[in-house]
């Protein structure tokens, strides 16, 4: 008889449990017509939701609809702006998704019919669905800043949807003379990537420190406080002295109100600034298709059930990522990745006419202040009992007394985050 040890005991139990933990452990739906899931949007939420559904039950027909042939990640785009990273390193294609059984349709989704359960694309294709997952991202509210529109954004980039805009801002920073002024104008809440503008200021300062040391960065904020504020303020001072100046909403009258892209001036209620480079990040709302499909409320974002991410306006449609009103979770890439996993589980359960289990959500968000100076905020969340909020149950910020070695390691872990997140999305 084999020896009864703790290890054998766990192995015996473990092997039996392994069945239940491989994917979601669902048998294929035998005999029934193939269930169809359509996913709109090839960013964090869309790619990961599609992959996790295909992984959980390969009998479900998963179609991902994305207009662009490739995706530029917003994360790490600030390093492109700072000059430490090439734009090509944040560019990813969808070619590996087919090996997971996902049908990728490279076309723009232009219409959703929630009643007929159909999606129409620009070339006229109609895709029927049992469940639709939308991760459409954001649209910019140009109208909130006088004089700012798509044409003006060529002179004063927002660089808040990565790609061409990222390259544009980088080029302008390279072209400007030493001693110039850069204005960075972050919007009020809520917006995509709350620490993003402040990491960007640091990345621009990193470039200036080594190439244009007489230049200045002025952050004209719409808000009176911002994400990781203490850590950013500490990092700015330690690494860049007084190169970065932050002006709170109280002193700007609520941020930048108008721009003149020809004269290169930026105006608040109190001041006009003549600038060398302007990075104008307007207020945001859910992407246009979410509005057209009647999935938004007066806030401009999509109300959803926080346990399944099913729309509160139309059944069988789920919204994840930055477009959703996900109370308790930030509009971050990592949050979107765990929303996608929770949503995929809910959708698969529903298609099998089963109740989804208990959810778990997380966020891990790094900001790189300098090549050897990273900071982070992390959190673990659970669904609140009344489903009105996703509640933080643990987590926190980089301690303000973190050692230089720890701050350096955080940069390496940020790069690992990037590699693994993009592997989750596109691998």
């Amino acid at each position: 008889m084999s020896k009864l040890t703790r290890r054998n005991f766990l192995k015996a139990a473990g092997s039996t449990f392994a069945l239940g933990s491989a994917g979601l452990g669902f048998p294929h739906i035998v005999g029934a017509a193939k269930k169809k899931v359509v996913v709109i949007g090839g960013g964090v939420g869309g790619t990961i939701a599609a992959k996790y559904i295909a992984k959980a039950d390969s009998s479900i027909q998963v179609t991902l609809v994305e207009a662009k042939p490739y995706h530029h990640t917003c994360f790490m785009s600030n390093e492109v702006i700072g000059g430490d990273r090439d734009l090509s390193t944040i560019k990813f294609g969808y070619d590996k998704l087919a090996s997971h059984g996902i049908n990728v349709v490279q076309d723009k989704a232009v219409m959703v019919d929630p009643v007929a359960h159909k999606v129409k694309t620009a070339d006229g294709t109609t895709l029927g669905y049992d469940r639709l997952i939308m991760s459409p991202g954001i649209a910019l509210k140009w109208e909130t800043i006088e004089g700012y529109d798509e044409a003006a954004a060529e002179a004063m980039p927002h660089a808040w949807i990565a790609g061409h805009q990222t390259a544009l801002l980088r080029k302008q920073l390279e072209a400007m003379d030493d001693g110039g002024l850069v204005v960075l104008a972050p919007p009020g809440n809520p917006f995509r990537c709350p620490p993003g503008p402040y990491e960007r200021a640091a990345q621009i300062a990193h470039y200036f420190k080594h190439h244009k040391p007489k230049s200045k960065i002025l952050i004209l904020d719409a808000k009176d406080k911002f994400s990781k504020q203490g850590l950013f303020t500490q990092g700015y001072k330690k690494v860049y002295g007084d190169m970065i100046e932050w002006v709170p909403g109280a002193d700007t009258g609520g941020g930048v109100k108008a721009v003149d892209a020809k004269a290169m001036t930026v105006s608040t209620d109190f001041d006009d600034h003549k600038v060398s480079v302007a990075n104008i990040i307007p207020a945001q709302k859910a992407a246009q298709i979410a509005h057209d499909a009647d999935l938004t409320d007066d806030s401009g974002w999509c109300p959803v059930d926080l346990g399944t991410f099913e729309s509160k306006k139309h059944k069988d449609i789920h919204i994840i990522g930055d477009a959703g009103i996900i109370s308790g979770l930030p509009k971050s890439g990592y949050a979107a990745s765990t929303e996608a996993k929770v949503c995929a589980s809910a959708v698969v359960h529903h298609l099998h006419e089963k109740e989804p289990g208990v959810n778990s959500y997380a966020n891990a968000c790094y900001s790189i202040i300098a090549p050897d100076y990273g900071i982070s905020v992390v959190a673990v969340y659970k669904l609140g009992e009344d489903r009105a909020k996703i509640k933080k149950v643990g987590g926190g910020l980089t301690p303000s007394d973190a050692t230089p070695e720890a701050l350096k390691r955080e940069v390496h872990y940020a790069y690992s985050w990037f590699n693994n997140m993009t592997a989750e999305m596109f691998g």
Partner: protein, 221 residues
Amino acid sequence: MLHKVALEALLFCVFMLLPFSTALAGETASPSMLSDTCLGCHGPGGISDGPATPTISGMSEVYIIAAMLAYKYDNDEDKVEAIIEADPDLEDVEFFARTSTVMDRIAKGYSEAEIKVIAKHFASLPFVAAEQDVNKKQAKAGAEIHENHCEKCHENGGSSAEDDAGVLAGQWIPYLEYTMADFESGDRAMPKKMKKQMKDAHAAYGDNSVADLIQFYAGQK
């Protein structure tokens, strides 16, 4: 053989009935629901794409639990020992202090029951070695040091995941470097045996012994 199967079946039944078997309790999320949230940093299937975050799939259950408890309770030995003492499931878990950047914050979001579910999940998945270049000369020197000082606990060239031994073979170089730097600085506690072997290895092979060991482990498949 029949006896073994019968025993395992019996053990499984016992396990099912244990009150602390929270994997089956209605209130705990499923193993994949809990563990999938880790993968944005630790990689698809728990296999890290690097450069620094370790692969956690294929590590031993007790290793993962020991790490998570040390993180969760900020290396409070008394607290962790009390938890180990109170839970027969944790009989093989030993406390060792360890430092981290984000994991001490993340671990606080999970209960002991959830940590056990997560540990069992990743322990059940296969380890896949990192694809990376190593210094062959150093790796060769490291192989000898490993054989003489490490193999006894880190069996099979550091690839075995038994008890409190972490998987070393095929981990990313920066991760191995951080880990060894923490052991050497005292930020991470070494088991007594390891402390002695490290001292002996230093004495026998000189200052490069750790760097050589790292190259050896990094090149293992």
